[in-house]
């Protein structure tokens, strides 16, 4: 194939059942324009190292499974083109700041534990009342939705925690992913606000441990910009501390259900495209 090039992949191998310590192995692979690191790994596994392990699924930057430390940067293997790295030798390691299960497979358990700590769901003080007697819908203007929409795109790939220098030294720091989700739900006008999450985000290992290195936003493959969400969260916490910015809880059932049904009935369907 024209434009093919031989690239050496240095891969950090570790098999907990056979190795006492990780070691490096090199594989020469002929790569072509557009070939991703993930495709190269498949090629290595097929032709040279059948026991090589990694985690991947969708191959299109949606599932967040194939996060790896490629040439000293946390990246999704499926979104990283080999020739774009502009290097003849490419090192691949499992994501740092996570336990290593085998070869390139990190254990993302710390990510999910931290994610759970910030209560990543809508919390309402009138929750039970609304669940038992739903009277209508909670409406959102486009502006209200835009306040947090960017932060809903997180795919939980864990690259941000691998990039964060604070996570590198403080294993208990909630980290960019969890703090971003704390802000995402707190900024949602259907939620009762950050007050329900103060015990985790306004704590020693919470938002203020972020020292704004910006590495998480640099690494994020989905443009979620965790560094920005954390700074917005800090601003919310500071305003809250001084008694400003207390969010008005949205009134439950702002529109009677019958009105919603009527509005939907009046909504004209799109014209038929198939006869």
């Amino acid at each position: 194939m024209p434009g093919e090039k031989i690239i050496t992949f240095r891969i950090r191998r570790f098999d907990p059942e056979a190795d006492s310590a990780p070691h490096w192995e090199s594989y020469a692979v002929s790569v072509f324009e557009g070939m991703t690191v993930l495709e190269a790994l498949h090629k290595i596994k097929a032709e040279q190292a059948p026991t090589l392990a990694w985690r991947s699924s969708c191959r299109m930057g949606v599932c967040g499974s194939c996060g790896m430390f490629v040439n000293q940067l946390p990246q999704l293997a499926c979104q990283t083109q080999v020739l774009h790295l502009k290097a003849d030798v490419i090192s691949i390691e499992p994501l740092p700041n996570y336990p290593n299960v085998k070869d390139l497979v990190p254990d993302l358990q710390p990510l999910f534990e931290k994610h759970t700590q910030v209560k990543p769901f809508i919390i309402r003080l009138d929750d039970i009342q609304e669940m038992e007697h739903p009277a209508g819908e909670f409406l959102q203007t486009p502006e209200e939705r835009e306040a947090f929409s960017q932060f809903t795109y997180c795919i939980k790939c864990g690259l941000c925690l691998a990039a964060c220098p604070t996570v590198a030294t403080d294993p208990h720091f909630l980290g960019p992913q969890a703090l971003t989700q704390a802000y995402r739900y707190s900024a949602d006008n259907r939620d009762d606000g950050v007050y329900n999450r103060l015990d985790s985000v306004d704590a020693f290992h919470g938002a203020y441990q972020c020292h704004m290195a910006g590495a998480c936003s640099h690494a994020c493959p989905k443009g979620v910009d965790p560094a920005f969400a954390i700074q917005l969260l800090k601003r919310t916490l500071v305003l809250d501390h001084f008694g400003f910015g207390k969010k008005e809880a949205q009134t439950a059932a702002v529109l009677p259900l019958a009105d919603v049904v009527k509005a939907l009935e009046e909504f004209a369907p799109p014209p038929r495209t198939v006869k």
Partner: protein
Amino acid sequence: MKNNQPARRLGLRGWVYAGKYSFERYLYLGHRLSGLGLVAYMVLHIVETANRMRGEQAWAELMALFASPPFKVIEYLLFALAVFHAMNGIRLFLVELAFFSGKPQEPVYPYKSSVLKHRPLTYVVMILAGLLMALGGSSLFFP
């Protein structure tokens, strides 16, 4: 974590090695190192001024030592550390309250993070820091 899983925590290496990350990651490192330098200086400063207790002559000898060219350079480095830390601190104060970072918006590729949005502020602050360092240097070395 299972016992046979290496932790892979980067530790101090992850803290110090800024590698291929953005300019702000280097400023983070500089801010921490300059902060540690200033704390170390404060301790040394207390030790230094405690020399006054050893008598007037000991104090005069110490002051004469500090007036020598090598100490002038050290004094300037200390000044530069303080200027960098203060100016970058102003940037962090503003950025950590989400000023100069725009508003949340739908991520559309190529993504532009808030770090890039506040980079003009970063440049202005660093240029001001450079000017202050130059002014301080000229008044120290060419009084």
